[in-house]
Symmetry: C2
């Protein structure tokens, strides 16, 4: 181990290699918070060449490496498990180029998402990726985990924002697959190996992101419906009428009640008596005509009985009040034993899924609080649960209880958070043996010494 | 060889295995037409199990296999090179499910694209993939080659239409990665291995395609501009104003003159005196308001001098007349020695690229006809060239002449047609050594005996 650190120090210098306790502690965990482990050292390379040198040396010593971005992950993917060196991309930040003709931005992996959003906006474009952690998460982490978030229904996952990237393999080989073209069928599209593989196949160092035109209108509404089928009908008819549905967030009654009841001084936009609520945003290009068309659409939905009640935000403040309900789960952790799950299911099945899961949970933990909400337009459901305990064995029992239903209904145990270590035991619930076998084949081919984020995903 | 055919016949039956000359000849080439080779046999499995059995047996005999779809490819990817068995997916056709709630369609690989488009349309959706060969190409081939075509600017390449797929590996392992969710981060997204790898890593047998809402309005225009920079400005401002630009096809003067001059009995929509022409389509959701907004947009573009002339199609017939110009290259092959190239470049560079290429070609082949046109919004340029000869050595010299400029300007030698055998020598022009090395690593890991479409891509 001393030999390894000596070699790294000699090759990279004391500025890149840190073994100070305060720095090691800062890199001992991600946002999951569970089971932190102090790494042997923290490497903070300043450029791709240094990432390559670091990996080449670690690989020759069979030294495991945990790549880290902004440490905002929720599956333990960036948390050391003991004995690793951390490689943090935090010093590789910046925008190398914004090409307005190509509508692309070439960026370093350690750049915070929010910085990229602001630069895109200033150039008159929109970056189609947004999530709560935007201020601290880094684009390299977003790509390595194929982040989801708020804009997926309109612009797709993080993967869909990438035209090209540069990554470093376990042996230090720099794979330059930067590319500014929307079309490039020159052989295998190797960038997809590194997107969503959580740093187990390579470390993303640079990326070319595509940019979108900025919408010119935005309308937000909150509607109430009586049945889950109506939620789905509303989704499809809103998309058919507008094309530009930019958010479609469903909330089950328990969730709506919990959030709107959290602050008795505030009157909720709609009474908490309906089985379902949907926060709906439409972003279009006709600032004058869009609000009227949207209102007419909701009027028809009310007439047809598709929705039972609706309120359109008349101001920025009213729109914010609607989004605060959807994002109100933040209040949860201050009042409850937080257990938050992220799953996906075929959209038609989500209503049944919640009923089956609720029944199972209530049978085993009578009186537990089980709330459901999520990006239904993306097939993504979140569960916030309180069993009256946050002990490890309860968490596991609840996960099993929920993920068994996910498995039976053909869903995924991870919609947008990834597998990391937290969901590793459940990977087989959503992926066939052949698929997991194929993942192992690819992992063994690209990282034969298993030094890149070992024990994550697989 | 007799032992192999015996084993295949025994396992699959004479209905699946053919050695009749007429059938062998039908499968000896794809649409490229060059260097046909009669395969040893043609396998036409009826289901995934038979594909698996066929590959398992071929793999155990180290027998090379060429997968074939509708044989419409333009890079030789489906043409046998001699000594192979062909595996055609033509009997695996049909739509297993159309799920309107999920907005997905689960389909067998051998289904013609046009069949899928019609089924999507009948259910009120749109399939975001369209190309000239729609009547005979098969979705499995479209995915294996990551087909592009007419709708890429709005809906992306074939890859972007896929939520899940089933593929069979070289050893017969069935990889079931079918998935109906927009979000699924449960480990590596293995479907991307099989999309765009031209049948060299596995054979696609089924797919889940995502569907889009159908647009409700459509406006087509032809405009003329003086400089390439204005073409790009028009693209970006049209996207910013409408979001829903569904086609943006630029034509250089030589191309426009060639096509509109082909039929002297027809008056072109605009005189052939401008340096550039753009056929522009906008598909939106406001059937009443969109045409007026589009006309107002073009009015402003004329006032600002961004375009010098413009005509909006007032009828279906007028729209068709505009698209016939863009698609008029069909007339080429009846009048010229056809040499058609498909490249992509960063959008800002395409104007310079055409000037450099034209100068090079004219220097070497004075008086040759060099025309340019393409899906500029997708960074994709097509070249139709006539050097007065279609001899092999001339074709090679022209390719080198063009692809050297592509390489120098950071472009791709294949935008949408793939590599196959035709562009294999030029793969390194657009992909770094490390990227090609990574492709080889993946190929060796998934197909260690190199039986799947050997000699294609790599």
């Amino acid at each position: 181990m001393a030999a390894l650190l000596d070699e790294l120090r000699q090759a990279l210098g004391g500025e890149v290699l840190s073994v100070e306790a305060a720095i090691l502690d800062r890199h001992a965990r991600d946002a999951t918070g569970i089971a932190p482990h102090r790494p042997l050292a923290v490497l903070r390379p300043r450029n791709t060449g240094e990432v390559s040198t670091a990996l080449r040396i670690c690989n020759s010593h069979r030294q495991p490496v945990v790549p880290q971005g902004g440490l905002t992950g929720l599956a333990g993917g960036a948390t050391p498990r003991g004995g690793e060196v951390v490689l943090s991309l935090e010093r590789m930040r910046g925008i190398e180029e914004l090409d307005p003709a190509a509508a692309t931005m070439t960026v370093l992996a350690g750049t915070p998402l929010e910085t990229l959003q602001a630069a895109a906006s200033q150039a008159g474009f929109l970056l189609g990726l947004d999530l709560g952690a935007r201020g601290s998460c880094q684009i390299g982490g977003n790509l390595s985990t194929n982040a989801g978030g708020m804009k997926v229904i309109r612009y797709g996952m993080a993967r869909e924002q990438v035209l090209g990237l540069e990554a470093v393999l376990a042996d230090g080989t720099v794979v330059n697959a930067l590319n500014k073209m929307l079309k490039n069928n020159a052989g295998y599209d190797v960038k997809h190996l590194f997107i969503g593989s959580e740093g187990t196949l390579g470390i993303v160092t640079r990326a070319v992101l595509r940019l979108h035109p900025k919408p010119r209108s935005s309308v937000t509404a909150l509607v109430a419906t009586g049945r889950y089928e109506q939620v789905v009908q509303l989704l499809r008819s809103a998309q058919a009428e507008f094309g530009g549905v930019s958010a479609f967030e469903a909330m089950w009654q328990d969730y709506y009640r919990f959030v709107t009841g959290a602050d008795p001084s505030r009157i909720p936009p709609l009474p908490a008596t309906s089985p379902f609520y949907v926060a709906l945003e439409f972003a279009g290009n006709d600032a004058e005509g869009d609000p009227d068309r949207f209102e007419a659409f909701l009027g028809r939905a009310l007439e047809q009985g598709l929705v039972s009640d609706a309120v359109i935000a008349k101001s920025e403040r009213e729109a914010r009040a609607i989004w605060e309900i959807r994002e109100g789960v933040g209040a949860w952790n201050t009042r409850h034993n937080g257990l938050h799950l992220d799953v996906s299911l075929p959209i038609a099945s989500i209503g049944d899924f919640t009923e089956r899961v609720r029944a199972r949970l209530q049978q085993r933990w009578p009186g537990s609080l089980n709330t459901f909400y999520g990006h239904i337009g993306d097939s993504n459901l979140h569960l916030s649960l309180d069993m009256g305990s946050d002990e490890e064995h309860v968490r596991h029992a609840v996960e099993l209880c929920v993920y068994e239903v996910v498995r039976d209904m053909g869903g995924s145990v991870s919609a947008e958070h990834g597998i990391g270590t937290l969901k590793r035991d459940y990977l087989g619930f959503s992926r066939s043996e052949a698929v997991v076998g194929l993942m192992r084949t690819v992992k063994a081919a690209l990282d034969p010494n298993d030094i890149l984020n070992p024990g994550k995903v697989l």
